[in-house]
């Protein structure tokens, strides 16, 4: 019974931890403009992140080396240094978006100006990183993030024409009003939102932090295998809500209040409160993960002591890095940039940066020098090669599409 409970907890945490500000914003924007015609990208992204996360977790658990240590060893200092600069910058952008997301959600809940919430949010994130046990931190944020299931409830209450939603999704039929370049631009953005590099830094470093055993590896594979696809369903529910309410009304999403509009319409104040709480938890959890990732990447590249399992004083530069990253994120937000715009940027650049982490992990997962008998099997490698192509194509296409479409506008 206890075992079953632990397994359930892991899966629920993975579901709640899947959605972050990137998924929220991108799915709502896409739903409001393209209906369900990009649902296939969410499926593609979920399969990709399951593959990528479980592979990096296995590499970290078996070799004892987390992602950026491997990147440094494999690419040499120069190429790995360029990789670090790109990964760190994009991770900082994502962190900025997540902290902004917390502030926006708290603003919705309180109608206190978001700029007043930014320092509060950043400080709260830091306090948790400073004080709270790794496992507690992960579980609480993940479980609270489950409240986003409110989007699915709202969708049922809206009583949509399911056949119509399905017709939009298969075969994908983009609305005639949209330019194909915009369609593909958002396809890349949605892919980047599902397969964000920080999830991999976090997942692999977590495997080292928790000193995974063969049993842990199995458990975590199961969590990811069940939890991420269910989390993907939440993403689809967010897109569907937007497709049902915002698309016919011609509302293009540019703020968090528009994202939750369908929820308010369907379920009233109570459901809205649940969903807003879910957004706070989901963005807070992701802010923790991205802040940690900024410390993980830099410390692992430079060979510093790192990890939340150590006392802060035993990983001093790692903690200093996280403090600086949070200060930078808060500083960027205080210049009153629009967090939603930052989010849209961050998911596209995530897609650009993805091969930088994906390729070294895929290579090392096949190297018996690191993996011994735990090298990739045939099926994983076949999938791995398919995703290698997809990941590279998305990365190469992202910037030209961004320029051609004026960032999707």
């Amino acid at each position: 019974m206890k075992k079953l409970l632990a397994a359930a907890l892991g899966i629920l945490t993975a579901i709640g931890g899947f959605v972050d500000i990137g998924d929220l914003v991108t799915n709502a924007v896409v739903g409001s403009r393209f209906g369900m015609s990009l649902a296939w990208v969410v499926v593609l992204g979920v399969v990709g992140i399951v593959l990528f996360a479980s592979m990096s977790g296995r590499v970290a658990a078996v070799s004892g080396r987390a992602t950026f240590e491997i990147i440094r060893e494999r690419l040499g200092p120069r190429a790995a240094g360029a990789n670090l600069l790109a990964s760190f910058a994009i991770n900082l952008l994502t962190l900025t978006a997540e902290v902004g997301g917390i502030a926006l959600a708290l603003h919705l809940a309180s109608s206190v100006e978001p700029r007043l919430w930014i320092p509060v949010a950043a400080l709260a994130v830091w306090l948790v990183l400073w004080r709270v046990k790794f496992q507690v931190m992960e579980n609480v944020a993940g479980l609270m993030g489950l409240l986003l299931v409110g989007f699915a409830i709202a969708l049922f209450q809206l009583g949509p024409d399911w056949g119509e939603l399905l017709r939009q999704a298969v075969p994908p039929s983009p609305p005639g009003t949209e330019h194909p370049a915009s369609y593909w631009y958002y396809a890349v953005a949605l892919f980047g939102a599902a397969m964000t590099p920080y999830e991999v830094f976090f997942f692999s470093s977590g495997a080292v932090e928790e000193r995974w055993t063969a049993k842990d590896l199995g458990t975590n594979r199961l969590n990811v295998l069940l939890g991420f696809p269910l989390g993907g369903l939440l993403s689809l529910a967010i897109a569907a809500c937007a497709a049902v309410v915002l698309l016919p009304a011609g509302i293009e999403v540019s703020s968090l209040s528009q994202i939750v509009l369908p929820v308010a319409q369907a379920g009233g104040v109570l459901l809205l409160a649940v969903v807003v709480l879910g957004i706070v938890a989901a963005t807070f959890g992701a802010a923790l993960e991205t802040a940690l990732s900024s410390g993980y990447t830099l410390a692992q590249y430079l060979g510093w002591s790192w990890g939340k399992f150590r006392r802060p004083a035993r990983a001093a530069r790692f903690h200093l890095t996280m403090i600086v990253a949070l200060l930078l994120a808060a500083g960027i937000l205080m210049t009153s940039v629009d967090p939603v715009a930052v989010t849209e940027m961050s998911v596209v650049f995530s897609a650009v940066a993805l091969p930088l982490t994906y390729v070294p992990i895929l290579v090392v997962a096949n190297d018996p020098g690191y993996m011994g008998e735990h090298v990739n099997g045939r099926v994983v490698n076949a999938l791995g090669t398919v995703y290698l192509v997809i990941v590279v194509v998305a990365a190469v296409a992202a910037i030209p599409l961004m320029i051609a479409t004026g960032a999707g506008s």
Binding site: V62, G64, G76, W212, V363, G369, H374, N376, N381, L388
Partner: protein, 148 residues
């Protein structure tokens, strides 16, 4: 002299013909026996149970001295994925195949066959990170580069 000085240095034959650059430096690590019951001794780790961290199973040797064996000379610089072509890893397609193709013609020369390590006249003398130039001794052997 550091290993880093030798890496990417130009290599000339005894007659002065350009042979390529140093892509890696081969070493022989003396493997020593673990003291009885010492931490992580090879056979003991086999017994590390289901509950031991997986990383306890990774290959790990107790080592003594590290002797310089020779240099790997390739037609072009190492680029990324240093040394990948010397392992027998074949997957994930197509990365090993591409790296191997790029490094076709890489060979090993014994350190004994290196006649001199001198300042490279082709390099900018004012640059403080100027790479040395290596010249091989007459009758040097080109040995296969594989690690197998």
């Amino acid at each position: 002299m550091n290993v880093g000085d030798l890496l990417d240095a130009r290599v000339l034959g005894p007659d002065g013909a350009a042979l390529g650059v140093v892509v890696d430096v081969r070493l022989a690590l003396e493997v020593v026996d673990e003291p009885e019951g010492g931490p992580g001794a090879g056979e003991d780790r086999e017994e590390a149970g289901h509950d031991a961290p997986l990383s306890a199973h990774a290959r790990r040797d107790a080592v003594g001295g590290a002797r310089l064996v020779g240099l790997l000379v390739g037609p072009r610089g190492a680029g990324s994925f240093h040394g990948y072509e010397r392992t027998d890893v074949r997957s994930p397609w197509p990365i090993p195949q591409l790296v191997r193709r790029r490094h076709r013609g890489t060979f090993l020369v014994r350190w004994e066959d290196v006649a001199s390590v001198e300042a490279d006249p082709a390099a900018d003398p004012s640059a403080d990170d100027a790479k040395p130039r290596l010249r091989l001794a007459p009758g040097y052997d080109e040995l296969p580069a594989g690690l197998g």
